[in-house]
């Protein structure tokens, strides 16, 4: 074995999870290989992309707030229930999110991921681009390296961090993850539209670097389970739909047609008017939540980010990058501990899960473990948003006739489609999923 092919740690995938892990490991003085299959970090990566809790990285990178390529920081959150021709929004705007540490920022992944990987390289990691990792190398049950798809493609390290994304071939090959079902995976398709800085600020009531994250349910995805999003970047919008794959296959609507439908919804069309499409992209999202989180480690191997299905898609929450970064950091700390002990056994690496259990990563996922199923509830997807809009329409309608009290108006509308019993049950489940 060439000394050149021996590292202290190998990180597969230069996304937020992988680069964060590589950064920490390289800082600690380890010889780290960070392997990326794209020509550059971010080439294959797609997300909304709002990076919530970016402060996670600010602890590591003192110049983070000045240097990182952010688009806008989120000061406005909107949740919209779309009916066929109407929209009911909850619109929240706060100046408290306008100061570091920002609550959330929008990023463009090819830029941001490249920057973050660059930080790992600055710290001393070796970034190996244009290289696919096909498999893991074992000694007995212990993972001792990776097999790259190049001649003489073996690389060795006592610990491997698989941050290879939603499809995670490595987690599956290591027997930590099972094959996915079409019910627990979602497809996100996205467009970036250029509107210009000024139009964005005027159209979305933003000043300076402020940004908006807006999510949609209901008619946004027609009869298909899922939702839509619209985020502001500096001079572009990121907009897309996220739909359950099983539902998409059942309803036989193509995702890009659905995206066009969303863009043409009367409540959305004025927001994207005159937007020039710059790019179209798609990615799979492990939205299954708690159910989908695999075993996270075995001897010599840790799994982080999307590869470990650490995505928080729970109704009003749609977060992934912060879960990726936090898991990458925890994986790196675990690997460091293993190095200190000189012990890379499953027992030592099990510390990774404990770290995640103590952090928001697994706590949030577990606490909201019922939410994905609840959000994918047929009625929540296809009936309540429309009913909510109809109810609002009844409430606001002025017809020159005596009005009923609001409660009875709303209840009448709701009960026209759903029995009281179902309504109560859904209410109870909503409570369990989100509130208590």
């Amino acid at each position: 074995m060439h000394a050149q092919q021996q590292f202290d740690a190998i990180v597969v995938g230069a996304g937020p999870a992988g680069s964060s892990a590589a950064l920490v490991l390289a800082r600690a003085g380890l010889r780290v290989a960070l392997i990326e299959r794209g020509e550059y970090p971010g080439a294959k990566n797609v997300s909304g992309a709002v990076f919530y809790a970016p402060g996670l990285l600010a602890e590591l990178l003192p110049s983070f707030w000045d240097e990182a390529p952010f688009e806008r920081y989120i000061t406005r959150r909107v949740l919209t229930f779309l009916g066929k021709e109407s929209a009911f929004s909850l619109d929240f705007h706060t100046r408290h999110f306008a100061l570091p540490p920002y609550n959330g920022v929008t990023v463009l992944r090819p830029k941001f991921d490249r920057w973050l990987a660059g930080k790992a390289v600055e710290a001393g990691a070796l970034l190996i681009t244009s290289t696919v990792v096909d498999d893991l190398l074992y000694e007995g049950a212990r993972v001792i390296g990776v097999q790259c798809r190049r001649d003489n493609g073996a690389l060795y390290a006592p610990v491997v961090i698989a941050a290879d994304g939603a499809n995670s071939f490595l987690a599956k090959k290591a027997g930590l993850q099972r094959e996915f079902s079409a019910e627990e995976m979602s497809l996100g398709v996205k467009e970036v539209l250029r509107l210009g800085t000024r139009t964005i600020e005027e159209r979305f009531h933003l000043t300076g670097d402020e940004g908006m994250a807006s999510e949609y349910v209901g008619e946004a995805t027609g009869p298909i389970k899922g939702g839509a999003f619209l985020y502001t970047n500096r001079e572009t919008l990121s907009l897309g739909i996220i739909v359950q794959i099983a539902s998409l296959a059942q309803q036989r609507i193509r995702p890009y047609e659905l995206l066009d439908r969303f863009k043409q919804h009367p409540a959305v069309a004025p927001l994207v008017r005159d937007g020039l499409t710059l790019e179209y992209s798609a990615h799979m999202i492990p939205e299954g939540g708690w159910q989908l989180v695999p075993r996270l480690a075995r001897a010599g191997l840790l799994v982080a980010g999307d590869a470990a299905a650490l995505v928080f898609a729970a109704g009003i929450f749609l977060e992934g990058m912060n879960f990726a970064v936090a898991s990458g950091l925890a994986a790196a700390e675990t690997a460091l501990e293993a190095h200190q002990k000189g012990d890379f056994s499953a027992a030592t690496l099990a510390g990774y899960r404990k770290r995640l259990e103590q952090s928001f990563v697994l706590q949030d996922l577990q606490r909201f473990r019922l939410t994905p199923a609840f959000v994918n509830n047929e009625r929540l997807q296809n009936i309540y948003p429309e009913l909510l809009c109809q109810a609002a329409e009844q409430v606001f309608r002025s017809e020159g006739r005596p009005r009923k009290k609001l409660g009875s108006t709303i209840l009448t509308t709701l009960r026209s489609k759903v029995s009281l019993w179902t309504l109560l049950r859904d209410g109870w489940q909503a409570g369990r999923a989100l509130f208590f």
Partner: protein, 293 residues
């Protein structure tokens, strides 16, 4: 045998996006790569080196980022690499660049390389000038547009090359030649290799030698005299619709308008249904009408 390859880092055309409204080229979206024809030149040089022995020197002229193409060269199998750069070179055109490369190749104490390979043209300016100009400055014979290259066994032990040039409309010119010589290579000549992991790793970590061309004794650029200044970058065809060759009856202005707008109209389809004999008849009539038969 000593072989030199001149390489250029250029944006991959598939990454070039021009705003249909402002006509501006979005340079942020460029993916800079080793120019496709240059990669084939490198591959051709490597194959010859492997067959006949010798050394391969790859050089480029470009800013820091151009180190990447030299790393590709190292990973593929170049023995030595060097990057020429001076900040003033951003304004140099192909003739000045060729003069700088020539000065660098002359600067080696021993004689010139036996063979020099260049890509036929780059993906950005495609002026196809550096190769022939370099040959002129070095006083070497040249063969451009190479799409076939074969080392023949020669009793004298000297290298004998059978070269195929690509001419218009599928015509091919075949030549026999010997070094010293400069060849410019078309991007269909071969499929460049995919480096092994150890070679890739070594290249990633290699230190790239840099040379200031202005320090070379034989180089005195007269940039003023040569180069074109860019006045304006124009809008291309906005959408990937069909580009019709413009009608020569139109005025030059109208023709250029058609070129840049991508053909003014999308034609209407005439869709016909019927027995095959009739359709065949229609087809022949159509072909005659349009002057194709």
């Amino acid at each position: 045998m000593r072989i030199a390859v001149c390489l250029k880092q250029a944006p991959d055309c598939s990454s070039v996006y021009v705003d249909p409204v402002s006509g501006e080229v979005d340079r942020e979206r460029f993916v800079q790569t080793l120019n496709a024809a240059d990669a084939c030149a490198l591959e051709a040089a490597l194959r010859l080196k492997e067959q006949r022995g010798g050394s391969l020197f790859a050089l480029t002229l470009g800013p820091d980022e151009s180190d990447e193409v030299l790393r590709v060269a190292l990973a593929m199998g170049a023995d030595t690499v060097e990057r020429l750069w001076h900040p003033s070179a951003v304004d140099w055109g192909p003739l000045t660049i060729a003069a700088a490369l020539a000065a660098r190749l002359h600067a080696d104490s021993s004689s010139l390389p036996d063979l020099i390979f260049c890509g036929e043209q780059s993906s950005d300016w495609a002026s196809g000038t550096v190769g022939p100009a370099l040959a002129a400055y070095l006083g070497l014979p040249q063969i451009t547009g190479v799409i076939g290259l074969e080392a023949l066994p020669d009793p004298s032990g000297q290298l004998l090359l059978r070269v195929t040039r690509r001419l218009e409309r599928g015509y091919r010119e075949r030549l026999l030649t010997r070094p010293p010589l400069l060849l410019t290579v078309h991007e269909t000549l071969n499929e460049p290799r995919y480096p092994s992991l150890p070679a890739h790793l070594a290249a990633l970590q290699a230190t790239i030698a840099v040379c200031d061309p202005l320090s070379l004794p034989q180089f005195a650029p007269d940039v003023e005299a040569e180069e074109a200044t860019i006045i304006e970058v124009r809008i291309p065809r906005p959408r990937p619709h069909r580009l019709a060759i413009p009608d020569s009856q139109l005025s030059p202005f109208e023709r250029i308008g058609e070129i840049v707008s991508g053909g003014t109209s999308r034609r209407q389809t005439r869709l016909l249904e019927g027995p095959p004999e009739e359709l065949a008849h229609e087809l022949v009539r159509f072909l005659k009408e349009r002057g194709f038969v």
